[in-house]
């Protein structure tokens, strides 16, 4: 089975129907609510998306609590409008960008991606978003920049989970610049053609499908172009368990559990595990980024 789904092409990433039906390409963030669900074609075989219900009721978003159902219960307390994102560091056009300004002119497309949590569960999610590189190109990355650092909103009175000190808030993540510029890396503003639900990281989040889910930082308020590898939250908590790269890799176990298999959420009480794919099935697209690197060392 692993073999069958390993060799994905670009057509698998974005379903063919998407290319055929231009109406589904929704220009601008304001239009994301238009009929992408009704018009969405059948997903590529083996990539049948999870239900909207699954995707929005089983989340890790520790700002709202450590339970899987906490985000669905409490994330509505977060105000997402107005929303602005600070872009700073080694960029030509730093500043505080209003969400509309950020997404203005970007082509919002549907990307059906596998999503693999470091906890060995997975989903398939039809995101709506645009490539991060489009935004980075627009703000002008300066030559010295090597990494991109991201921060999640930290607003304790709207995020009850932040009262616990489990994470040194705000939540932080980072990518190497070439990872950030990769065409698979998107900033998502919605899923299933609807505006991003709060529990999934409204109004704008990162999605890096070949990395464990925690790298795909939610509710972003800051993007910084930097020269040095930035600190990232889970790596700060347990560096031996969560590396900076955190690429999905069935051959490198988490110290406390195997990463060789995963369970698709939504399969019920008798769902079997399935093999985890190298780079979460995006090996052909991203393996080149890590050529010559010892992935056991740079986990």
């Amino acid at each position: 089975m692993a073999k069958k789904t390993r060799n994905l092409t670009w057509a698998d990433v974005t379903p063919e129907t998407h290319f055929l039906n231009r109406r589904q390409i929704l220009a601008g963030a304001g239009a994301v609510s238009l009929g992408a669900i009704a018009g969405r074609g059948r997903a590529t075989e083996g990539l049948e998306p999870n239900s909207f219900e699954d995707i929005t009721s089983y989340n890790n978003f520790y700002e709202f609590g450590t339970g899987k159902e906490d985000p669905a219960r409490y994330a509505h307390e977060m105000t997402t409008a107005p929303w602005s994102v600070t872009i700073d560091g080694m960029v030509d056009k730093p500043g505080s960008y209003d969400l509309a300004a950020l997404t203005d002119g970007m082509t919002i497309e549907e990307r059906i991606y596998r999503f693999r949590c470091v906890e060995a569960w997975s989903m398939v999610i039809p995101w709506n978003g645009f490539e991060l590189r489009g935004l980075l190109d627009r703000v002008g990355v300066q030559p010295g920049a090597k990494y991109v650092a991201f921060e999640t909103l930290y607003r304790p009175d709207e995020m009850r989970g932040t009262r616990s000190r489990i994470i040194d808030w705000p939540y932080r993540e980072g990518l190497r610049l070439d990872e950030a510029m990769h065409p698979l890396t998107i900033l998502a503003t919605g899923l299933y053609g609807k505006p991003m639900p709060n529990q999934n990281g409204a109004p704008i989040r990162l999605v890096v499908p070949w990395k464990y889910g925690f790298k795909s930082i939610k509710s972003i308020v800051r993007i910084s172009l930097v020269a040095e590898q930035p600190e990232t939250s889970w790596n700060m908590i347990a560096p031996n368990e969560y590396g900076f790269y955190s690429n999905v890799n069935p051959a490198v176990d988490h110290p406390r559990w195997s990463q060789a298999t995963e369970r698709r959420v939504g399969g019920g009480l008798f769902a079997a595990r399935q093999d985890t794919l190298m780079f979460n099935g995006y090996e052909d697209e991203v393996a080149g980024l890590y050529e010559g690197m010892d992935l056991k060392r740079f986990y």
Binding site: N50, S51, E53, D54, S57, Y58, T66, K68, E69, E119, W121, S164, I166, I167, W234, I237, A238, D253, R256, W257, S258, A260, T261, R263, V265, G266, G268, L269, F270, A271, A272, R273
Partner: protein, 202 residues
């Protein structure tokens, strides 16, 4: 009015089988919820965790019965065996969900057992509980005599192992498993002091 005496008096009227029935009901109910979607989109992990948590709660309850009697004078001793056996039943259910629904592969199970300290520790806790469950009947109590009490001190090993297992398996340092561990260590400490004061009185 003496609250402790009142609780003890009322508890005496509750037949022990009621504790077994009430105690086992959530096991079936949770399984039913898992089957019918009531435990969310990932029912296997949910069931595994819920059984494990109830097991730990029952182990804490079982550990509390003796100090309650000696210190607070609330006598629930006649329920102690039922609480202990129920805890064992939930630990077993927790283990079975892990084996039969979650992993379902001997090689995965073996790898987890030898490579994951929290699994090893949890399994060691379970192993401690097996002889206790087997000797929980009246005949064994009579046959073993004073050795029975010594054997059942394995509880003091098994219960903290369960809590350590919980502390180790969550991401980061979360307060809930630490609270269980603290409660258990507290209940064990009460015994130490009891032992000490008992010696002093003698």
């Amino acid at each position: 009015m003496d609250l402790a005496a009142e609780v003890t008096r009322r508890a005496r009227r509750v037949p022990v089988w009621v504790i077994y029935v009430l105690g086992l009901a959530p096991m079936g109910w949770l399984f039913w919820l898992g089957l019918t979607g009531g435990l969310g989109p990932e029912p296997i992990k949910a069931l595994e965790h819920r059984y494990g948590l109830i097991a730990l709660q029952l182990l804490v309850a079982g550990l509390a019965i003796t100090p309650l009697c000696r210190i607070a004078r609330v006598n629930l001793m006649r329920f102690r065996r039922a609480v202990g056996l129920l805890a064992f039943a939930y630990v077993t259910a927790h283990l079975l969900v892990w084996l039969l629904l979650d992993l379902r592969s001997l090689s995965l199970i073996w790898q987890d057992l030898v490579k994951r300290p929290y699994v090893t520790i949890g399994m060691a806790g379970f192993a401690c509980l097996v002889p206790l469950a087997l000797t929980s009947n009246d005949r064994s109590v009579r046959a073993l005599g004073p050795r029975w009490r010594r054997l059942h001190r394995l509880t003091y090993v098994a219960v903290p192992l369960g809590a350590v297992h919980f502390v180790m398996l969550v991401k980061g340092w979360q307060w809930e498993p630490l609270a269980y561990l603290a409660a258990i260590l507290g209940l064990l400490a009460l015994r130490l002091r009891l032992v000490r004061s008992a010696f002093q009185q003698a």
